[in-house]
Amino acid sequence: MAMKIGSKPFFGRVDEALQDEFMRKAMSSAQDRLRGKKMLATVEDELVGDWEEWRSAGEEIRRHTLDNLDFYLDQLSENFSKRGGHVYFAATAEDATRYIQEVAKQKNAKKVTKAKSMVTEEIGLNEALEEVGCEVYETDLAEYILQIDDHDRPSHIVVPSLHKNKEQIRDTFRDKANYTGTEEPKQLAAFARSQLRETFMQADIGVTGCNFAVAESGTISLVTNEGNANMVTTFPETQISIMGMERLVPTWEELDVMTNLLSRSAVGQKITTYVTNLTPQLEEDSVDAPKEFHLVILDAGRSKALGTEFQSALHCIRCAACVNVCPVYRHIGGHAYGSIYQGPIGAVLSPILGGYEEYGELPFASSLCAACSEACPVKIPLHEQLIRHREIYVKEKAKTSEKLAMKTFGIGASSPSLFRLAVKGMPAMMKPFVKDDSISGGPGPIKLWTAVRDFPAPANSNFRKWFDNHKRGGGTDG
């Protein structure tokens, strides 16, 4: 399924979302709570000091790392392999899934457990593993909910099942997994625990993403709360971690800063319940550690941003702080973006990774209020990048359909008689749509505008008529 969610056009998805009352309430309530928690853990936490200093530290570290990405990736891969780990550099999503399929086949793997990872969603890893005969188990509570609900797609980077309420989850568990309990979150979580407990132990391969890799030691750091990532990386014989190529820090000292920025910005915690730092096992003498460790480093379009005005989009640490303040996301929710990366960062990243053809309209899903840029813990100028995307997209479009529209306008505007006819005819043409001097539900080019707000009805008069009348000494209202 990869990055794309749904097959409807963007505005169709937006319409659908705007009709979904529950989803909209869920989004606004979740945004308020996540934003409130973040404020308490950042600008309102006296102990943390000046939060702006933290943001500057984050920006400084990310910029240096991305400016020297080749060096640090080289260092990471050398240190990881020195400890016996295997590194695969994947230029495309297909390269990554092919390699992981090969590992699964070599290991004769039947069961795979997974911790939450957006990059594995991006490359469509579950489907790839199923193709080679593996059963794949999502173990993060939110991902587990989505998986048993017929592989529903994530609507938020940090809380992927945000669009579902507890009653819906209860019904899904009941219909798909013979659950007999209530809609109490505690009971629902306990059910997931009981369902997955043995699976963790039986899995042949454990798959994770990577919050940060540490170049100096070849370490993969996972920032989590549920304990499932620890289960996934403790019991299977083989571990495979997949990281976007930009998700690394030079040393443990920078890991400290980035972990703090991520925990506080994403979930308003001083630190998440688990920060698990995994390096391939030197001696292979532990009973409860993987014997084989593979690291897949993914480009899949990221390098297109390097050396361009979009390079700082790769500074993103996937905290979703920008998503949690976005007024557009609040109204349309995650699925309307049609990408697994949603909100402002999704609207910036998706066209870079997936192209303008597929995701070029997403940068228009923004009021350009700049709340996203202010919320970003590593100071990505998101609203400026959205504007730049729009410019590029419009330029691209102008080469095709808009060029035709402008040509048509040009013909009309260059002929006085045609222009007069169009201006004169407009009030009559619009008459069926006019009510109380305004148009709602208008046709053609004003259809999208009038779907959400009124458009003023064309005046019966116009400037030319008024001017002629004025010259003749008539009244001012033409």
Partner: protein, 233 residues
């Protein structure tokens, strides 16, 4: 131990260098960072104050905290075990149990001490256990966090599989925050020392807010957590 394989590195890194408009960097020096707010947190805080901050933040993370001294530690540990009504106990293999005179407590409680020679049997016991008990290697005041440097004896399962974990926190292990552990690890890497295969930062029982943003305590990891803060001998 054989080195692992690295695939496709040359082309991959060449693409990055080309996009960045230069040759591949062979040597990069980390800059002296202009912004280092992490160094200011709980700076010049006394050991007593750090212990108080650690306690407060552990409680905030729904962890039970018990303060004691080394003379009382055995009794406190037994009392903690009793609360779990005879459930099985699993402990890491750690010389500090003996240093603190806790071997007897573990033996009297019928605790299983991790023994890697027994292989999978250890995991089966940990799965059934009510309590996993271990020492914190470093403890973070800012967040009420205990840290384990896992290896074949300080097994990962002990803090993960039982219903509750009990961490013994010598007061001397408490530092302001992650910064101090990170600096120590960075220094030891620079000196060529090998890193533990898992460095685990644990802050209370497992939890999730995935269902309507309601916090649920106890998901896949422990459902309860206890930090026993021990005054140094």
């Amino acid at each position: 131990m054989a080195e692992g394989m690295i695939h496709n590195k040359t082309d991959f890194l060449a693409t990055i260098s080309t996009k960045l408009g230069r040759e591949q960097s062979k040597q990069v020096t980390r800059p002296d960072w202009k912004h280092r707010p992490q160094l200011e947190i709980l700076k010049k805080t006394s050991s007593e104050e750090l212990a108080a901050v650690f306690t407060k933040n552990s409680i905030e993370k729904t962890t039970n905290v018990i303060q004691t001294d080394s003379a009382q530690l055995g009794e406190v540990l037994l009392e903690t075990f009793r609360k779990y009504e005879g459930g099985r106990i699993v402990a890491t293999k750690d010389g500090r149990f003996s240093d603190y005179g806790l071997d007897v407590v573990l033996a009297d409680s019928g605790a299983h001490v991790w023994n890697s020679e027994l292989g999978e049997e250890n995991i089966e016991i940990a799965k059934q256990a009510a309590i996993g008990v271990f020492f914190s290697d470093v403890s973070l005041a800012e967040s009420g966090t205990v840290v384990q440097f896992n290896d074949k004896d300080i097994a990962r399962s002990v803090s993960l599989l039982p219903l509750a974990y009990v961490a013994i926190v010598p007061k001397s292990t408490i530092v302001p925050r992650m910064t101090q552990v990170s600096q120590t690890i960075h220094k030891s890497i620079s000196e060529g020392k090998e890193l533990s295969t898992c460095i685990n930062f644990i802050s209370g029982p497992s939890n999730s807010a995935d269902i309507e943003m309601n916090i649920v305590i106890g998901v896949h990891g422990p459902i309860e957590a206890v930090h026993i803060v021990v005054a140094d001998r």
